[in-house]
């Protein structure tokens, strides 16, 4: 069964307006006792628009708007030229999709599984289900009734294949209520019934439709006649030409022949069923509002244990947790927590939240506490390492990282990762501490640096005064942090050119030297530029790294 919400976005927009409109309506209706007024108000021509590079474009129009001349896909300016009073509202494709997903789940009341048919359709498998509703006809009537209750305009069709149902729902003959049923029969019989539908009923891309229209294949029947069998040579040539034309197209939506086979059930058409996902949620309603931290801690501990059980049942671990606390006066306090790795360790969760609960204003008391997992990851049940835990009682690495990043902030706990750049400060990027476990380092991202590098790198190179043989001799002596170092040994220079593709043209090259002073302290210093490179005056010297 295919269900097509013909005007999903408009209906959704109308319903979202509905709450406001209904309030005004009920107030107005009481005053005037006139129903026509409010209906007239609702039927103002309105278009849902998206901002594009060329100006606002119309995504959907309501019936009144359609009557006023606005069409989907038109620019708003053109529609306004036809009807200046056209109202607009922003369209919301993401919201529509989310709504459709919920709708698909809701539609599982008519069948064991359902699939999305974006942008505005739902396909439900009703194989061997219809008798529960008293036949296909009553099933469709039930669908229409249910959707009418939700104020959604809908067209539904039942057919042996998903493709045929879709075609009938979108383009089928509108008998009475707008729903149709195709009884299972042989391929030829099915094709005969569907022969009058336009080629667009095959769910094809627009460019393929254009090709078909140019070839003169406007109806399904035309296409089927050509592909079925040749009667004479011209028809055989036409069939071969058609096969050649679409031979390279593997995607069903680009190949009318595959679509036709799917429509007739010669080729299976896999659909992706929607599976409901329930985010684990546990809550406690408290008899007495809580005003003290110790009690709240107790409740939190209980919740964390409930949550751990819940997660364990689902075989998942929490990555992000939200703790909501409802106060007596209606205020909601929310604390969020993000974890470095999936966990369902109640003690760990309690401990991390305990840090976040500092300074909560309990007011007159907290009456409901709810713990919700907004991001969960599969986390297989593992045997608890009894021996090791008993022997050492150590924490795991992810627990340690969690504790550190909760107290010090996520920016404080990081891991250096090599990056493909010869510039020393760009040769390293900082990633979250546990990221490399999920995404292993890729080989091309690392450079092979043959020369020795210092153990420590200063965040910002420090300027030093250097005595050296101009223009580019070895450094003899330098002053850094108010002390003079005599250079005893030098290795270099190692010249590192600026990355011209991302820096300004005045950036100077660097000549790096590894030096050791008379005491044996080792440094990594560089001269920024050379005299006469046209990018500034006398070059400066900087101390960039300290070597062990």
């Amino acid at each position: 069964m295919a269900i097509w919400c013909a005007q999903l976005s408009v209906d959704r927009w109308r319903l979202s307006q509905g709450d406001r409109a209904r309030e005004a309506e009920s107030a107005g209706a009481r005053a005037q006792g006139d129903k026509g007024e409010s209906e007239g108000e609702e039927e103002l021509p309105t278009a849902l628009i998206t901002e594009t590079a060329h100006g606002p474009r119309i995504d959907a129009v309501n019936a009144a708007g359609h009557a006023a001349g606005a069409r989907t896909g038109q620019m708003l300016a053109d529609a306004r030229a036809l009807y200046p009073g056209l109202k607009t509202a922003p369209s919301d494709p993401a919201g529509d999709l989310a709504f459709l997903e919920k709708l698909a789940l809701w539609a599982q009341r008519w069948g064991p599984w359902s699939a999305l048919d974006p942008p505005d359709g739902v396909i439900v498998d009703v194989t061997a289900v219809a008798h529960l509703f008293g036949g296909e006809g009553r099933l469709l009537a039930d669908v229409e009734r249910a959707f009418a209750k939700r104020h959604l305009a809908v067209r539904a069709a039942i057919a042996p294949t998903a493709g045929a149902a879709w075609a009938l729902a979108h383009f089928g003959p509108r008998l009475g209520g707008g729903s149709s049923i195709l009884a299972p029969s042989s391929e030829e019989a099915m094709m005969r019934q569907l022969a009058d539908l336009p080629a667009a009923a095959l769910r094809l891309d627009t460019d393929v439709l254009t090709v078909l229209r140019r070839l003169g294949l406007k109806r399904l029947g035309d296409l089927a006649d050509i592909t079925r069998g040749a009667i004479n040579r011209t028809e055989a040539a036409a069939r071969d030409a058609l096969h050649r034309r679409f031979r390279g197209r593997k995607s069903p939506s680009a190949n009318p022949l595959i679509r036709l086979d799917q429509l007739l059930g010669r080729v299976p058409e896999p659909l992706l069923p929607v599976v409901p996902q329930h985010m684990p949620l546990v809550q406690r309603r408290l008899m007495e509002p809580l005003r003290h931290r110790s009690l709240l801690d107790q409740v939190l501990e209980d919740l964390a244990q409930d949550m751990a059980r819940e997660l364990e049942a689902q075989g998942q671990g929490a990555r992000r947790l939200e703790l909501g606390m409802w106060r007596v006066d209606g205020e909601v306090i929310v604390r969020r927590l993000e974890l470095a790795a999936a966990t369902r360790d109640a003690a760990h969760i309690t401990r991390l939240f305990a840090e976040k609960l500092e300074g909560i204003e309990a007011g007159f008391g907290i009456e409901t506490v709810r713990l919700r997992v907004s991001w969960a990851e599969p986390f297989a049940a593992s045997q608890s390492d009894v021996e090791e835990a008993a022997a050492r009682h150590g924490t795991s690495l992810s627990a340690c990282i969690d504790r550190l990043s909760v107290r010090l902030g996520p920016q404080a706990v990081r891991r250096p990762v090599a990056h493909a750049s010869h510039l020393p400060e760009r040769g390293v990027i900082w990633q979250p501490a546990l990221s490399s476990f999920t995404a292993p380092l890729t080989a091309p991202n690392t450079l092979n640096i043959p020369l020795a590098r210092p153990l420590k790198l200063l965040d910002r190179p420090e300027k030093i005064a250097v005595l050296y043989a101009s223009p580019d001799g070895y450094p003899q002596r330098f002053r850094w942090r108010a002390r003079v170092h005599e250079v005893a040994r030098v290795q270099g220079p190692e010249r590192i050119a600026p990355e011209w593709w991302r820096e300004r043209s005045t950036t100077r090259l660097r000549d790096y030297y590894r030096i050791e002073d008379k005491q044996g302290a080792r440094y990594w210093i560089y001269r920024s530029g050379i005299t006469g490179d046209g990018r500034g005056g006398t070059p400066d010297w900087f101390l960039h790294g300290i070597d062990a």
Binding site: R407, R415, P454, G520
Partner: protein, 294 residues
């Protein structure tokens, strides 16, 4: 730790109860001079160094690698075909240490450590101590390296005792680098003072700097006599530099000196001369206790 704990004293058997062999072994163990690659690795060490050079961090790194390689060697001898050590290393710095001496640079770290270091930058010394302790409690870490600048109020004897206990409970080694700090009271099992030393001439580039070399002075240790070494990190391991120098001559002194004679009095007299006599006795009593317990 300069005085034996009065509560634990009755548990220590009097010397008469120990056999002569025990005493000999004990004194030999105590008298044994520290050298790289010893199996009894300390779990809490402090290294005092200047922030103007990276000798502290370098020596900490070298000692930590030495310790880890020893552990690996022991494990291999235990016929456990264990894979290469992939445990992480936590490197904690407080903000001031970062400002003074920079961050660890991935390309300058030893090859096998490059993908294993997790850096923590703590704003305050209190946070750094918290991070160190959490790291020590973590069983998945190979070791923890800390860098704290100066003598913050938070890092007192109690704090260092906490670190020692955590390290010894969970068996994770801590190498704490103290930049520009006075060596005040601490419970670290080994305390070093590091300064850079002139490196040996490299074989191929006589003008360039050689392998990292440090003048390392062990001025306080529980199980070893104090001493001073010139240590160098060559490609594989930490080794005592061969070049004989005036302090190195003293290191070659025979080991049968009496404990009461302060070792290297000329150097020790400069800092805390009063502790010296006590120091050796205290470690003696402690290690007795350790031996009798074990």
């Amino acid at each position: 730790m300069t005085k034996p704990d009065p509560l634990s004293r009755p548990k220590v058997p009097p010397l008469a109860h120990l056999s002569g062999v025990d005493v000999a072994a004990l004194s030999k163990q105590r008298e044994a001079r520290w050298r790289p690659g010893l199996t009894d690795q300390p779990l809490h060490s402090e290294i005092f160094a200047s922030a103007r050079d990276a000798s502290g961090a370098g020596l900490a790194l070298a000692l930590a690698r030495d310790g880890l390689s020893v552990c690996e060697g022991v494990r291999e001898q235990g016929a456990l075909a264990e894979a290469e050590d992939r445990r992480q290393i936590l490197w904690v710095q407080d903000k001031r240490a970062v400002e003074l001496s920079g961050r660890p640079y991935i390309h300058g770290l030893p090859e096998e450590w490059r993908e294993r270091v997790i850096c923590v930058e703590a704003g305050k010394p209190e946070d750094a101590l918290f991070a160190l302790e959490e790291g020590l409690k973590c069983r998945d870490l190979a070791c923890v390296i800390g860098e704290i600048a100066g003598n913050p109020r938070a890092l007192d004897f109690t704090a260092s005792r906490r670190l020692s206990l955590a390290a010894e409970k969970h068996g994770v080694a801590l190498w704490l680098v103290r930049l520009e700090a006075q060596s005040d009271l601490s419970s670290a099992r080994m305390r070093w003072r590091a300064r850079p030393a002139v490196s040996p001439e490299p074989r191929w580039d006589a003008k360039g700097p050689g392998v990292p070399t440090w003048q390392a002075e062990l001025f306080r240790a529980r199980s070893h006599a104090p001493g001073e070494w010139k240590l160098a990190q060559d490609a594989k391991r930490l080794c005592v530099s061969k070049s004989p120098k005036p302090p190195a001559k003293e290191t070659e002194r025979p080991l049968e000196h009496t404990p009461d004679v302060p070792f290297k009095s000329s150097r020790k007299s400069r800092h805390k001369p009063a502790h010296n006599g006590n120091l050796v006795r205290a470690t003696f009593g402690r290690s007795m206790a350790a031996v009798s317990r074990g």
